[in-house]
Amino acid sequence: MTDLCEGGMEDLWSIAVVLLQVWFSVMIGFIMIPAMFGLSLGVTSVYIQILVKILEWATLRIERGHRERSTLPVPAPLPFGLIQREGGSMEQEMGELRRYRTQSISRGEFALSDSFYFYIKGLESIVDDQVTQRFSSEELVSWNLLTRTNHNFHYISLRLTIIWGLGVIIRYCVLFPLRITLAIIGLTWLVIGTTLVGFLPNNRLKNWLSELVHLMCYRICARGLSATIQYHNKENKPQKGGICVANHTSPIDIVILANDGCYAMVGQSHGGLMGVIQRSMVRSCPHVWFERSEMRDRNAVTSRLRAHVAAKTNLPILIFPEGTCINNTSVMMFKKGSFEIGGTIYPVAIKYDPRFGDAFWNSAKYNMVNYLLRMMTSWAIVVNVWYLPPMTRREGEDAAQFANRVKSAIAHQGGLLDMAWDGSLKRAKVKEEFKEQQQKMYSSMVMGKKAPANA
């Protein structure tokens, strides 16, 4: 009896070993090596095409199901909000309100109905506001067969459910192990490779090897997410000694951008695994890692970055001026610190296709590990990256205005909403000054004076 068991165990073991060997050779042969050299076997693009067909079919099926089921209209997401709003400024709208006044009340004085303007603005913002929605994932036009994006979609048909079930199996049992393995290999390679390169003396060979190592690792990681990246306007790619700014949606932005070029990363030095990666990266080429205490001193930060940029042989630094992750439907205020460094700014617009996976990192809801797991169990990541022509600060333009100009350019290219609100509103309260501004505007109307030009 025991002999049989042992024999059985050995067989099982050898089968497992063979499977593992096959697994690894498939990985290395078909995925890693082409990835390292920037080639593609075209598997991912076929996969994406199949996915698109399935999702389109699912969309039609859901719409049909809705029509058959009830007379209720299909709830569609409203990109510009729930309510019809008047778009005017305070002056315009108050002016309309006051038009009805009788002659006996002199113009510019207070009337009881003036408060109605503020009431309605307040109530409109309760029903729907432009800011808080940016800190949660974008709603999809139609369900993309992922449970996590299921908001208002009901049971429609058996076939749809089967496809969804198949999708779950494929994503969790086939794609997920594959992606995890790739990610681990990629990161391990990064640490080992950069450490090895770090031993070389500083010369051109070292720089070239360092770039190669970085690129290979990021390409493997990108494969590890089934990322399909389309770069546009490559002639505007950031050059050495410049500053690259982009809109921020997730930590994966770094992988996306670094797939096509080498950047010097800027950030806080962490401990643990991140710390290991950071320290080894610095060995092969200069990145800028700050201690937590340094980050508070804005001047120190600016001067270090300035020194980095001034050395024209250093790689362009990569900065996300929003300071926090936004959900890729809008671009929020750019912090002017990055624009005070000087040098040429290379703006980049990143737009994710939400059908294949929600790339937004809601750091209030999910921590980093949770987020990466969700990324690895999505269908894929499909991104469009636009390199915009380089910009420099104009005469008489201050850092804040320059920042706004760059932000508008990025928003315009990426098809995102250009918003003046600060991304830090995700966590912090809004400043009192904005309320005071409103009060000032209204006061000047009441006193009959002319309101300031930029209302």
Partner: protein
């Protein structure tokens, strides 16, 4: 594979809210998603802090008054029914409602209910009169520090003078109606569904 939002809001509840407020089915589910997205504590009710988190509301000079309107006397939490009841005041008056059953109670968004709502935003102590002090309070909120006490006082006095008809130096609801009636349709929120 059910929908997340409406499994938490039962059909019977939606029907009840529909009857009470006049919002349509899809408007109610939409507003429910809005309610849940504001409810950071995920306990089915909103507190004043939840409202304050909306930046556009936080910078509104009358923001606090508006938030107060959602909370019944002395309470600190508002549930979805209460939320909808308050919002119902601002539903646009539709033509087909004018011919409704005259015995039925007045809809929340009738003209006089809209005006009553606006009146109550001034009349904090609910004595059915807007006193000079109450008027001054609202004025002060709207102008901040930019107008002196004396000027504000004279504005308040003039406003009361013009609206007051029975000489009690305060504005009653009927006097308020005469001033506000023309503008009341302005306080409409057109929810786009």
């Amino acid at each position: 594979m059910g929908s997340r939002a409406s499994t938490l809001l039962r059909e019977e509840e939606i029907e009840e809210i529909k009857k009470e407020t006049g919002f349509s089915h899809s408007q109610i589910t939409r507003l429910y998603s809005r309610f849940t997205s504001l409810d950071k504590g995920e306990n089915g009710t909103l507190s004043r802090e939840d409202f304050q988190r909306i930046p556009e509301l936080a910078i509104n000079p009358l923001g606090d008054r508006i938030i107060n309107a959602f909370f019944p006397e002395g309470e600190d939490q508002v549930n979805f029914r209460g939320f909808m009841r308050t919002l119902a005041h601002f539903r646009p008056i539709e033509d087909n409602e004018k011919n409704k059953d005259p015995i039925a109670s007045e809809p929340l968004n009738s003209r006089s209910n809209k005006l009553l709502f606006a009146f109550r935003l001034y009349d904090l102590d609910r004595d059915d009169k807007i006193s000079r002090d109450e008027l001054l309070q609202v004025l002060r909120m709207m102008v901040g520090v930019n107008i002196s006490d004396e000027q504000l006082g004279s504005i308040a006095d003039r406003t009361i003078q013009e609206a007051d008809q029975n000489g009690d130096n305060s504005i009653s609801f009927n006097e308020f109606i005469k001033v506000g009636n023309v503008y009341i349709l302005y306080i409409d929120i057109d929810i786009d569904i």
